[in-house]
């Protein structure tokens, strides 16, 4: 039994600290999964928070025959598909000139990697981040989810298939189609040697 499953069993026996440990183990991956799904840090934090609460409340249904991350992200993907479609977690428009703030001054700062010391690189990072998020938003839900599960959670094709309740063959197809679209939209950044260093 892996560490996550052990913690879940302890939580099911009433140990709250065990769930808090699970949260800390998966907080970063879930936050980034949520961020890439809704393109806003504030919305992503709210989305991730709601997902962890759902997982907490559903803990009674968890059985260690399933890998914890598969179960966790199944709840996450269902929540994303149901709630984001309803318009919750509104995506804010990102502005290059104002660094991500709207014209009325409200909004949020565009997230930038910490290692961007030069103005030219900072502007380039702004543009890259905006292009990454907009290209993801153009993907159909299932392609976006399959791609994000791969790059943000480290799940294998088999685990992604179980999370999305589909086949490995379907996952391969989703990933190929997602990558084809993303490579087309992000082609310039793929050729830019500095893109990965900003």
């Amino acid at each position: 039994m892996d560490a996550d499953a052990q913690l879940m069993l302890e939580f099911q026996r009433g140990d709250r600290k065990a769930f808090e440990a699970l949260f800390r183990r998966h907080a970063k991956a879930m936050l980034n999964f949520a961020y890439r799904y809704v393109s806003s840090r504030a919305a992503a934090e709210e989305l991730a928070q709601d997902i962890f609460c759902k997982v907490f409340e559903a803990a009674g249904t968890y059985h260690p025959s399933a890998r914890f991350s598969t179960w966790l992200y199944r709840i996450a993907t269902n929540h994303c598909l149901n709630e984001v479609r309803k318009g919750r977690y509104q995506i804010r428009e990102l502005s290059l000139e104002t660094g991500g703030r709207g014209e009325d001054g409200e909004g949020e700062a565009l997230h930038l990697p910490d290692s961007a010391p030069h103005p030219e690189q900072q502007a380039s990072s702004n543009e890259l981040e905006r292009d990454l998020q907009s290209s993801l938003q153009e993907l159909p839900d299932n392609q976006r989810l399959a791609f994000l599960l791969l790059i943000e959670t480290g799940q294998s094709y088999d685990e992604i298939a179980k999370t999305l309740k589909t086949t490995v063959s379907a996952v391969k197809s989703l990933l190929v189609r997602a990558r084809t679209t993303l490579k087309t939209k992000l082609g310039g950044h793929l050729e830019d040697e500095h893109a990965l260093n900003s």
Binding site: Q12, A44, E45, F52, F56, A59, I151, A195
Partner: protein
Amino acid sequence: MHLTPDMISAFADGELEAGARKSARLHLDECAACRQEVVRVEKLSALFSAGALEPDAAFEDRVLTRLRALPLPRQSFWVRLQRMPMRIPALSALALVVVGVGGVSVRQHQAVVKAEEAAAAATAAEEISIAERADFLENVELLEELDALEALDDRVPG
């Protein structure tokens, strides 16, 4: 012949089986176009990974505060049942207990009925025994004589 997009994607993700991976490597050693395509797939993933967020203390505090306010969830019945050790023998034992209790109940009822019947029979037998011992039957003739004697008293003045 180039690698298919599926194979390039699976190769970049480490999802090709050993034999297919070996064949792909041999092809990539010879094919610059496919090598470049693998590099583009890997770079694409790296672009997204480079901008990863770090959860800050405020986010963690908000989530933990909210989690601590939630009541502990209940386990579903089936999860509790599945966690029973030796669950198959336990279920069999449970079934036997249920059948056994049912069987005992039937036997108890039968015993009660028999006891009632026996009691009734005993009561009847006792009544017959009493009746057989009673000498009142012998006294019936005496009572008849008494009636006759009373009748004589009515006829004799005095």
